[in-house]
C-alpha cells in the first residue's frame, strides 16, 4: 500500500512537470505552512533554510541554480567573464530591473549590496577573504577582483541563504535590515510575527524569458498572494496536511506519509533531500586522533541507523558517495571505508592500535530532530560493540549550537543538511567551522578544487576531496534521506525542491 502510494506521489510530480505548460490561470491566494517564524527576513543575516525559503520570493541574487544545480543568471545578464588568471570576474547586469519601491537597479546598488554581503553574511565573509575589490565598471557591469582564483564564487553568489541579494544602495548600510525592498516576483505586504507573512505580486517584475529551469529561467507570477504561516508543532502540521487547511505544508515527518495520503492534500516526496552527518571534533579530545575517528567510521552501521531514524527504506538510501547520482559531484571513488552494516572487528583493531584507554566518547545531540537522536542511539550500540565507552549528551537545539563551538565539550555532534549545490558550502570545508578540520592533505585537495574554474575538471577534483574526507574522517555521512511535504490537489506548478518556491505555481480550482 505504502509502495503504491509512494509511486503515485512520485508520478504526481512527474505529471506536474510535464503539465506545467498547460492551463495556468492568474489569480489566487495560497497559504503555506512553515516550520516556524523565521529569525529574520534579511537573507544575508542568516544561514537558516526557513529564511531562504521565504525571502527568495522577495529578494534576488545575481545568479541562481538551474534544475541541474548549475549556476544560471538571474539579475546578471550572463555568466561572468573570468580572466585568464582566474582573478577577475566581470559580471554583466540586466538593465531596467525595478526594486519594489519603484527605483531602478544600477551597478551602484549591486556594488553596495555585495559589499554589505562581504561585511555581514557568513558566506559573504568567506568569499570576502579572497575578494580584493568590487567596482562598478559602468552602469551595467560589475567587476570583482580576487587575490587568488576562487571557483566557488559564482555558487556562493547563487545561494539563497546568507545570500548575496541585491537591495537599493540606500538600504545597504542597514544592519539589521529594516526596509525589505528587493527585486523579486513578490513583495512583502505585511508581517505579523507568529501569525503570517503576507507577500503580494510585484506588478513591475520583469521575468526572464523562456521556460522555468529550476530556480532559474522564467519566474511566472500566477498567484496574487503567498502567505507563509508558522505551524511549529509537527503533529499539528500533520493535522493541517490531512484536513487540507493550507495549500502547501512543508517538512512533515516522513513517517506520516500514509496518514497524509489519506487526507485532503497530496504527499510530495523529495528524494533524496539531504544527508545526516556526524561531525568529528578533530581539534581536542579523543577524536583528535585520526585512528579513533577511523575506528568510529568502521564501527558505525548506517543501514541500521537510517532504518531506526526514518522507519522504512522508502524514505532513505544508504550511500557512501557524499552526493547522490543527480549531482555532477557524484562519485563512489575512495569510499570503501563506508560499510553499510558496520565492521566491528576492523573497528576493534583500529581502536587497539590507537591505544584507546576507555575515555568516554561524547556524542552531542538533541531531540529537536528526532532522527538525530534515533541515529545516535543505534550508533551508541555499535560503538559500544566495538569497545568504545559512549556518553550521550542530549541537549536542546539552542544549547547544541552554542556548545558545539567549544572544542572542550564534545567529540561528535550530529547535524544534517539538504545536499548543498556547491561542495565548498559544506561545513567541514571550512577550517573554522565546529570540527576544526585543518590538515595539509585537506588544504591541498580543497585548494586545487577551489582554484579550478572549469566545471568538468572541478567534478574530478571533488573526487580527491571526497577521498581525503574518507581518509581523515572529519565527518561521517550516514546516508541520503528524503523529505516529505504535502500540497493541495488544486495547487499546480510547484517543483519539489529543498527550498520550495511558489513563483510558477498556480491554482486550478478557485
Amino acid at each position: 500500500m505504502k509502495k503504491m502510494a509512494l509511486l503515485a506521489a512520485t508520478s504526481v510530480i512527474a505529471f506536474l512537470s510535464v503539465n506545467a505548460a498547460q492551463a495556468q490561470t492568474k489569480g489566487g491566494v495560497i497559504d503555506v505552512a512553515t516550520i516556524g517564524e523565521p529569525p529574520t527576513l534579511d537573507p544575508m543575516a542568516s544561514t537558516a533554510d526557513l529564511v531562504g525559503i521565504i525571502t527568495q520570493h522577495i529578494f534576488e541574487t545575481l545568479y541562481t541554480f538551474d534544475a541541474k544545480w548549475g549556476a544560471t543568471p538571474l539579475l546578471a545578464a550572463g555568466l561572468p567573464a573570468i580572466s585568464e588568471d582566474g582573478k577577475t570576474y566581470t559580471i554583466p547586469l540586466r538593465t531596467g530591473i525595478k526594486f519594489h519601491d519603484g527605483s531602478v537597479m544600477t551597478a551602484a546598488d549591486v556594488v553596495a549590496s555585495l559589499e554589505r554581503w562581504t561585511r555581514i553574511a557568513t558566506r559573504g565573509k568567506q568569499a570576502g577573504e579572497v575578494i580584493t575589490g568590487i567596482t562598478a565598471t559602468d552602469d551595467a557591469t560589475v567587476t570583482i577582483t580576487l587575490s587568488k582564483p576562487y571557483a566557488p564564487l559564482v555558487a556562493l553568489l547563487s545561494l539563497n541563504n546568507a545570500a548575496a541579494i541585491v537591495i537599493p544602495a540606500a538600504n545597504a548600510a542597514q544592519d539589521p535590515l529594516e526596509s525589505f525592498i528587493g527585486t523579486g516576483p513578490y513583495k512583502l505586504q505585511e508581517r505579523v510575527p507568529d501569525q503570517y507573512i503576507q507577500l503580494v505580486r510585484f506588478d513591475d517584475y520583469q521575468s526572464l524569458g523562456g521556460e522555468p529551469n529550476g530556480y532559474g529561467g522564467a519566474r511566472n507570477q500566477y498567484l496574487d498572494e503567498i502567505r507563509f504561516v508558522p505551524v511549529p508543532d509537527p503533529s499539528t502540521r500533520i493535522g493541517v496536511a490531512v484536513s487540507g487547511q493550507y495549500d502547501y505544508v512543508d517538512q512533515l515527518p516522513v513517517e506520516s506519509f500514509e496518514q497524509v495520503s489519506g487526507g485532503a492534500t497530496e504527499p510530495v516526496v523529495l528524494a533524496p533531500f539531504g544527508w545526516p552527518v556526524f561531525m568529528m571534533n578533530t581539534k581536542e579530545g579523543l577524536n583528535a586522533d585520526v585512528r579513533v575517528r577511523k575506528a568510529i567510521q568502521a564501527a558505525l552501521a548506517p543501514e541500521d541507523m537510517m532504518l531506526a531514524a526514518f522507519g522504512s527504506p522508502d524514505f532513505f538510501s544508504v550511500e557512501a558517495a557524499w552526493y547522490p547520482e543527480s549531482f555532477v559531484w557524484h562519485s563512489n571513488e575512495g569510499t570503501d571505508a563506508y560499510k553499510p552494516t558496520g565492521d566491528t572487528e576492523a573497528a576493534k583493531a583500529l581502536l587497539a592500535e590507537a591505544g584507546y584507554d576507555g575515555t568516554p566518547l561524547r556524542i552531542l545531540t538533541s531531540r529537536q530532530y528526532e532522527f538525530h537522536y534515533k541515529m545516535a542511539l543505534v550508533a551508541q550500540a555499535y560503538l559500544e560493540a566495538a569497545g568504545f565507552k559512549v556518553q550521550m549528551d542530549v541537549v536542546e537545539w539552542a544549547t547544541l549550537t552554542k556548545n558545539r563551538a567549544d572544542p572542550a565539550l564534545w567529540d561528535i555532534y550530529i547535524t544534517h543538511s539538504p545536499f548543498l549545490p556547491e561542495p565548498s558550502l559544506m561545513g567541514l570545508m571550512s577550517d573554522t567551522s565546529p570540527g576544526w578540520w585543518a590538515t595539509d592533505a585537506k588544504h591541498a585537495a580543497v585548494e586545487a578544487f577551489n582554484a579550478e574554474s572549469d566545471p568538468a575538471r572541478r567534478a574530478q577534483l571533488f573526487v580527491d576531496v571526497q577521498k581525503v574526507i574518507y581518509d581523515e574522517v572529519p565527518g561521517y555521512k550516514v546516508g541520503n534521506f528524503n523529505a516529505l511535504a504535502a500540497q493541495s490537489p488544486d495547487l499546480d506548478g510547484v517543483t519539489p525542491a529543498p527550498w520550495p518556491y511558489f513563483w510558477n505555481a498556480y491554482v486550478t480550482a478557485q
Partner: protein, 313 residues
C-alpha cells in the same frame, strides 16, 4: 481595610523584585546563545562573536543586570532580539488571543464545574457523585497537548468544523479569529474544570452540614433556595480562590495549547522566546505573567475582605 491593602501591596513589591532577579539569573545560566540561533546552522564563531557584541551580550552580568533593572524602573523592558521591537509592544500584540482564550476557558470551566460540583456535594455518594468525581480525576490527569491533539483530530481533521491551526490570515474578522479559539478553549476549559469541580464539591460539603443550613431547612425553605442562597454563598470563598488561580494559571498554562494550535498568543511567544534565547523577551514575558499572578492574588485577597468581614491581613 486600607491598612490591609497597603500591607498586601508592599508584599507584592517584594515578590516582584524577587521575580525580576530570579528570572534574570535563570535566563543567564541557561546554556544557549541567541546569536548562534539567529545566524543559523552554518554561522562561523567569529560571526556569532560580533553579533553578541552588538546585542550587548558580552557585557558583564552585573552590568547587564543594572541596565535591565534601570530599564524596568523606567517602564522599559528592552528590545526583543528577534522581533526587533520593544518587548512591551511584542507582548501587547499577543494579548488578544491569550486574553480571550483565558476568558472562554474560564467560562467553560466554571459553567461545567459549578453545577457539577454543587450537585455532587448535594447527592454525595450517589452514582452521579461517583461518576463526576472519577471524570474530574481523569480530566485533571490529561496532558493538555494530548487533549488538544485529540480534539483537533476529531473536530478539525475528521469533521472539518474548525481550523486546526492559526489565528486567521490578513483581514480576518473578529468572529473568524474567535472561531480559532473554540477548540483551544474547550481543551483548557475541560482540564481546568476538574480542579474547580473538586473544590466546589469539597467546599459545599463543608457548609451543607452546618447548623445554619439545617436551620434554613427547618424553617421550611425550598431546597434550591437552601443550596444556592445559604450554602453556596458561604462556600464561595475557596471556590473563588481556585477560579482566580485557574485564571492566572491559564495565562501561562496556555503555553502548550497555544503552541499546538499555532495561536500567536503570549504562551507561544514565551516558547519561541525560550527556544531562541531571546533574553529580553523571556524576561519581559515572565515578568508580566508573574505580575498577573500577583495581581490576581491581590484581587482575590481584596475580595475576601469584601465578602467576609472577619478576614484581616
Amino acid at each position: 481595610m486600607v491598612r490591609s491593602a497597603l500591607n498586601r501591596i508592599l508584599g507584592m513589591l517584594v515578590v516582584m523584585a524577587l521575580v525580576v532577579t530570579i528570572v534574570f539569573v535563570i535566563v543567564r545560566v541557561t546554556p544557549g546563545d541567541p546569536a548562534a540561533v539567529m545566524l543559523g546552522p552554518d554561522a562561523t564563531p567569529a560571526d556569532i562573536e560580533s553579533l553578541r557584541e552588538r546585542l550587548g551580550l558580552n557585557a558583564s552580568i552585573p552590568e547587564q543586570f543594572a541596565v535591565y533593572v534601570g530599564g524596568i524602573m523606567r517602564g522599559d523592558f528592552g528590545q526583543s532580539i528577534f522581533l526587533n521591537m520593544p518587548v512591551t509592544e511584542a507582548l501587547l500584540q499577543r494579548t488578544e488571543p491569550t486574553f480571550f482564550l483565558t476568558i472562554f476557558s474560564l467560562l467553560i470551566a466554571t459553567l461545567i464545574a459549578l453545577p457539577v460540583g454543587i450537585l455532587s456535594a448535594y447527592w454525595r455518594g450517589s452514582i452521579f457523585d461517583q461518576a463526576a468525581t472519577t471524570l474530574a480525576m481523569f480530566a485533571a490527569s490529561i496532558p493538555s497537548f494530548w487533549l488538544g491533539l485529540v480534539l483537533m483530530q476529531v473536530f478539525a481533521v475528521q469533521l472539518g468544523w474548525f481550523d486546526a491551526s492559526g489565528y486567521g490570515g490578513p483581514g480576518a474578522s473578529f468572529a473568524e479569529r474567535m472561531r480559532h479559539l473554540v477548540l483551544p478553549a474547550v481543551t483548557l476549559g475541560l482540564i481546568s474544570s476538574a480542579l474547580i469541580t473538586r473544590f466546589t464539591r469539597a467546599s459545599m460539603l463543608d457548609v451543607l452540614n452546618d447548623d445554619y443550613v439545617r436551620t434554613a431547612r427547618s424553617k421550611g425553605m425550598s431546597e434550591p433556595r437552601v443550596v444556592v442562597r445559604h450554602a453556596l454563598k458561604n462556600a464561595l470563598i475557596p471556590i473563588l480562590t481556585v477560579i482566580g488561580l485557574t485564571a492566572a494559571l491559564l495565562i501561562s498554562g496556555a503555553i502548550v495549547t497555544e503552541t499546538v494550535y499555532g495561536l500567536p498568543g503570549v504562551g507561544s511567544l514565551i516558547v519561541s522566546a525560550v527556544l531562541r534565547r531571546d533574553y529580553p523577551l523571556i524576561q519581559g514575558a515572565l515578568l508580566v505573567v508573574a505580575g498577573l499572578y500577583v495581581l490576581v492574588n491581590f484581587i482575590i485577597d481584596m475580595l475576601y475582605l469584601a465578602i467576609d468581614p472577619r478576614v484581616r491581613y
